[in-house]
């Protein structure tokens, strides 16, 4: 019984590693597929739909700045009590909103370029 479960588990593992369209006994791996195997080995949680929603939504949200005053004040309080701020561990390529607490020092000042372009020098 245990042996049966384990071999099932092994099959599932193999299916995750190899691209679904490739035959198991196919010895020819294109350079692109080899790169895919490499990537999946490094980031096993990478979504199945690469060009789909995740990437596109990240692209559409470029420039979005988030600020939560509750998180900010709690983080300030934690620092006061000499506790560590929660460490930021970005999973694969997604940023977790709310994990990084920006401080006024973190936010870059958005000033227009008063300096003339060096191309015109």
């Amino acid at each position: 019984m245990l042996h049966h479960n384990m071999s099932l588990h092994a099959c599932l593992y193999v299916l995750c590693v190899l691209p679904p369209t490739q035959e198991i006994d196919d010895n020819v791996i294109t350079p692109e597929k080899a790169e895919e195997v490499k990537l999946k080995a490094r980031y096993p949680h990478l979504g199945a739909k690469p060009g789909g929603s995740d990437l596109l939504r990240k692209r559409l949200q470029k420039g979005q700045k988030f600020f939560d005053s509750g998180d900010y004040n709690m983080a300030k309080a934690k620092v006061k009590n000499k506790q560590q701020l929660p460490a930021v561990t970005p999973a694969e390529k997604a940023e977790i909103t709310g994990d990084h607490i920006p401080t006024p020092q973190d936010i870059p000042q958005r000033k227009p370029s008063i300096v003339a372009s060096k191309l015109a020098g």
């Binding site: 692109e32 490499k38 990537l39 929603s53 596109l56 420039g63 700045k65 958005r110 191309l119 015109a120």
Partner: protein, 447 residues
């Protein structure tokens, strides 16, 4: 007209380089767009700092007919400034995404420049006369005492040193929820289109408070989003036709006469994919970063991550020509995905006669393809080969194990030195290549 590969008949040589030499490149100095005007007399650049610099082609020196004139600074101005949309908590970059010139109709020059959200029409005019002899004020501007004025005089126009002034004539704002990637002036010289990730709008150059939405691919449920608009362009002589490309490698041609909303296309261009070669990267590298009509209007060219394709507008099912830009990167896709280089948006351009095409690559390399001879060449924009009128030496990337002398191996390529923006003079063999914060100008050797 334009032979491409180094041969007996044709060679590219260095002409000028603009920009600072220092190693530390400020983000604001990174060039984000390059565009010749319709005569080639003016060359505009936009940068990440929101600034536009326009160069003008000096007249050739009569004493030295072998030298082509140089491009020197004509005008520079701050086009866009950083903004913050407090309602949406959105930071709006001042980076100039695109510059497009209007065809010249009078002595002034007009161009459209855009950042992620706002398009502006700029007038660049010359002033070489000024009125002198005002009645109510002195020459230095101080008001004259009215009681001291005993006679009236008529101000006279006197010549003065040439002054080039750039002034914003129109601001086309608040029409795009998403980030503008393209603007394109229509051949009717009255309208232009602007495209963001999900929508395309048609504007009249005189009207800033409204625009027509002509394409909207936003799904009702954003979870169902599968592709975005990556580039759009108006047809060069059919004012009712435009195309837009997508992140899935497809191009749609639309005819504005068919409907007010051009969601359904007139033509759909897509190259069939071999399903057995599909991988995680397939869709990402098929995303089209640029689309350009040929000057003739018969063809269009698309740039995806690894290749440039020429399409005949009469044939939708596959391109008529495919040129590999840097195929050796196919075995490096994993690391290019990790360092985000796989998302770099390269542009492409035609020469004036549509016989050659050019696009950029990494390591400050750029590639040219001659459509007639099928020859191609790789050149480098570097300070080392920047001696006046020095001929550019063809470069080669070695792909196999054995690296020949003068070849560079794929692993030695500098992926931070990307040439994303290039432009070809509309009439002559003069090209402008943007290498991060430097602008290189190359031209053919005049014998």
């Amino acid at each position: 007209m334009a032979g491409v590969a180094g041969g007996n008949d044709f060679q590219w040589c260095f002409s000028q380089v603009k920009g600072a030499i220092d190693e530390d490149v400020a983000e604001a100095d990174i060039i984000s767009t390059v565009e010749f005007n319709h005569s080639g007399e003016l060359l505009a650049t936009g940068d990440k700092g929101g600034r536009v610099v326009i160069f003008q082609h000096e007249q050739e020196c009569k004493n030295r007919p072998n030298l082509r004139g140089e491009y020197n600074v004509y005008s520079t101005f701050q086009s866009h400034e950083p903004e913050f949309d407090y309602l949406k908590s959105l930071e709006i970059e001042e980076k100039i995404n695109k510059i497009r010139w209007l065809p010249q109709q009078n002595s002034a020059h007009f161009l459209l420049s855009t950042n992620d959200k706002t398009i502006k029409l700029w007038k660049i005019g010359e002033r070489d006369k000024r009125a002198e002899g005002y009645n109510l004020k002195d020459e230095d501007g101080r008001l004259r005492d009215p009681f001291r004025i005993t006679s009236l005089r008529v101000p006279v126009l006197m010549p003065m040193d040439l002054m080039v002034e750039a002034s914003p004539r129109r601001v086309f704002a608040n029409a795009h929820t998403y980030h503008i990637n393209s603007i394109s002036v229509n051949s009717d010289h009255q309208t232009y289109l602007s495209a963001d990730d999900l929508r395309i709008n048609l504007w009249h150059l005189e009207i800033t408070d409204r625009s027509f939405n002509i394409v909207d691919i936003k799904p009702a449920n954003m979870e169902e989003l599968t592709e975005v608009i990556t580039a759009a362009e108006c047809h060069p002589n059919q004012c009712n036709v435009f195309v837009y490309s997508s992140s899935k490698g497809t191009i749609r041609l639309c005819d504005m006469r068919t409907a007010a909303l051009c969601d359904s296309h007139t033509k759909f261009f897509e190259e069939p994919e071999d399903p057995s070669s599909r991988s995680f990267f397939s869709e990402i590298i098929s995303s089209i970063s640029d689309v350009k009509f040929s000057h003739s209007g018969r063809y269009m060219m698309t740039r995806d991550y690894l290749s440039v394709k020429v399409w005949d507008l009469n044939m939708e099912n596959r391109p008529v020509e495919t040129y590999q830009v840097h195929e050796y990167l196919r075995s490096k896709l994993c690391s290019l995905y990790e360092n985000d280089c796989i998302f770099d948006k390269f542009e492409c351009c035609w020469n004036g006669s549509d016989s050659a095409i050019m696009t950029g690559s990494y390591n400050n390399f750029f590639r040219m393809f001659d459509r007639n001879t099928r020859k191609d060449i790789t050149l480098e924009a570097s300070r080392e080969s920047s001696k006046p009128r020095a001929t550019l030496k063809p470069r080669k990337v070695s792909t196999g194990g054995k690296r020949k002398k003068d070849e560079i191996s794929v692993d030695s390529l500098d992926f931070n030195k990307k040439i994303l923006h290039t432009a070809w003079h509309p009439k002559e063999n003069v090209i402008a290549v943007a290498a991060t914060n430097n602008l290189y100008i190359f031209q053919d050797k005049i014998n």
